[in-house]
Symmetry: C2
Subunit: 388 residues, 2 copies
């Protein structure tokens, strides 16, 4: 397997895009990424696109071909990957594999979701398809309800408090203030989160990531090709790629207070890269709900099992803290256009490692980690990155 | 890249399965495939699943994780691929790549669709998501209408007749009679096709593939591992894998009377395998409509451009003819559970090359070809197979 690098990135703002279509979002992110790489369209040999539920959101499938068409890349192979909220991460992994294997030298990997074309109720129902519809969605268990069960289990076992959950949202909003691509750039307070009204107790409105539109794209290149083509300046190497699965339904899991899939994927990723959790300079993790970030930092080994709440409350995951988490603002504040999220995480890593993250820059960042989760943890994808 | 073989296959009957759920269909095909390979579940290192529109058909996404869960394969990576009606072929290609690259030794690849849970009208709308919803589906152009346009163009340019289209359906029904997994096992006549009523002129009811439920699965293995593990008896090598894209909307194509994507993919596949069209012993092609089979055999080089109708009418594509096409009964008579079709094609190749196709066996079969198309040709996937 060859070394693979990100050599270009393009992102739309994550927002409610009432005046941009699905196709226009793809075009914006894709063209920016190609331009950033300094390559021409003809150099791209394959497309991998992550998208969760375009059929439900806009009545469109065949998203791989649509992306290639929209960017004028025909007749190269174009493939859509779906793994619910981890669709972007899985697309990245398949693009990585395509280059690492030697099948292709240069590929484009994108992620997209346009969620605001349907009612909030219909969007909730579409998102419920990430879990087990038969035993969860159709029985009334929405996604906030599933994560609320995990939060309750975590609180009961470890004494995690609602204020500690709120601290995740407050930090991520603070980070998003300095991200021009973020959906919410306003600071919030613990009190505001605590008084924002229950969605599914103990999770309140400001514990939840929003409904968003957005697209993200990166160009991947074999390291030796990047050097030959003089694209190595900004190249960020993907030093590990791990993906795991767990039961679709939450009720089938051994514990509700941990994400076993992420724990296993993290072990694999650290082993591949030959590093340990304390070597990671910053991480973008899947905070679809505040409890998810707490379970993520525990699964990733940044703190001990059960101490994620306290660890966050003490400021360890802030920029400038022990291990900055979600410098982009995370899903909570940067927004969560489902299929785009996994790619946006990789772009934040690319920017941080190139010292391009402006006021949210992590000083001396050497190794980045992204953690993308599908459903209530039935898919986990973890990547590690290092400046070449 | 390593040599990759199919070492096991499992198929459900393609039918309207009123008493089997999506999950049960997956379990049946998956367990059969694992059993056929002689492997244990613990030997499988990753899952790739093709599915087009489960969100629209049954309100369920996250199909990769669902498959792994249903077969008890956690925590291995499990990924869903979507490329409309070519979802199965694209899943096969990604599974092939995962093994060829050395990332995995043994993977399971499946395809699934459960289409009868919604009304025929809703199914038609879901299938329309394979084309360009903005300029086709939402403007009233259903999939039969798009293929009718291609049929008209072919008739006008080359003098293809409605009777020649009908000959495709008659042959495929005849083949399906001997396939216990086929949806329609009744012989039909040219007259019956001609009198079956227009769906979108010139295409009549019996020119169209049906709405179906079904699942299909194969186990892929690195050739050297297969030999070591003594699974080589029935191993069928995948000697080429090619995938291409074209514009999503039919109106953007250069010609309506050919599938350019399939032509390019065929050239690539023949080159990879170092063979020519006349070396192929049999082919499973994507006859979602009868005109599609005629365009397929032209794109694959089995006859000259424009002569597919005559070539079929003369019996060249029958079992015993020059190049037997769709011995399984094709999409027309075996059925077309969209995501499963590409894998079913590979299984027919596996059975034919192992001399296991019973009364529909192609004598002396040496090289098989499968041709899987998404939408009106925006994706084409071609694989070639040879007995190891």
């Amino acid at each position: 397997m060859r070394s693979v690098s990100i050599v270009g990135a393009g992102l739309t703002r994550f927002s409610e895009h009432w005046s941009l279509s699905f196709k226009e979002l793809i075009a914006e992110a894709g063209v920016k990424a190609i331009h950033d790489s300094g390559l021409a369209r003809k150099d791209i040999q394959a497309v991998y696109g992550g998208c969760m539920a375009s059929g439900r959101f806009i009545g469109q499938e065949h998203i791989g071909a649509l992306i290639a068409d929209q960017l004028g890349l025909n007749p190269i192979p174009a493939t859509r990957l779906e793994a619910a909220c981890a669709s972007g991460g899985v697309a990245l992994r398949n693009g990585y594999m395509a280059v690492a294997s030697g099948m292709h030298d240069i590929v484009a990997v994108g992620g997209i979701e346009k969620m605001t074309e349907v009612s909030t109720e219909d969007a909730g129902f579409a998102l419920g398809g990430a879990g087990d519809q038969e035993t969860e969605l159709f029985m009334g268990a929405s996604f906030p309800a599933l994560y609320a069960l995990m939060a309750r289990a975590h609180m009961q076992k470890f004494g995690t408090t609602e204020e500690q959950l709120a601290a995740v949202a407050v930090k991520n909003h603070k980070n998003a203030e300095h991200n021009e691509y973020a959906q919410f750039r306003n600071e919030i307070t613990i009190d505001q989160v605590m008084n924002s009204g229950y969605i599914a107790s103990p999770l309140k409105l400001l514990d939840c990531s929003p409904i968003s539109d957005g697209a993200a794209a990166v160009i991947l290149c074999a390291a030796d090709v990047a050097k030959k083509m003089k694209m190595a300046d900004k190249a960020v190497e993907i030093i590990a790629s791990a993906q795991t699965s767990d039961t679709l339904a939450l009720a089938q899991r051994k514990n509700l207070w941990e994400t076993a899939s992420a724990k296993i994927a993290a072990e694999q990723a650290y082993k591949q890269a030959g590093i340990k959790p304390s070597d990671v300079s910053f991480a973008e993790v899947h905070d679809c709900f505040t409890i998810a970030e707490i379970m993520a930092i525990e699964a990733l080994g940044f703190c001990k099992q059960g101490e994620g709440g306290k660890f966050t409350e003490q400021g360890n995951t802030r920029i400038g803290g022990k291990i900055p988490v979600n410098t982009s603002g995370g899903l909570k504040a940067c927004g969560h256009p489902v299929g785009a999220t996994g790619i946006k995480q990789a772009i934040e890593a690319y920017w941080q490692l190139n010292n391009m993250a402006g006021k949210r820059q992590v000083k001396g960042a050497e190794i980045g980690l992204t953690h993308n989760v599908g459903g209530s943890g039935a898919t986990a994808v973890i990547h590690l990155y290092r400046k070449m």
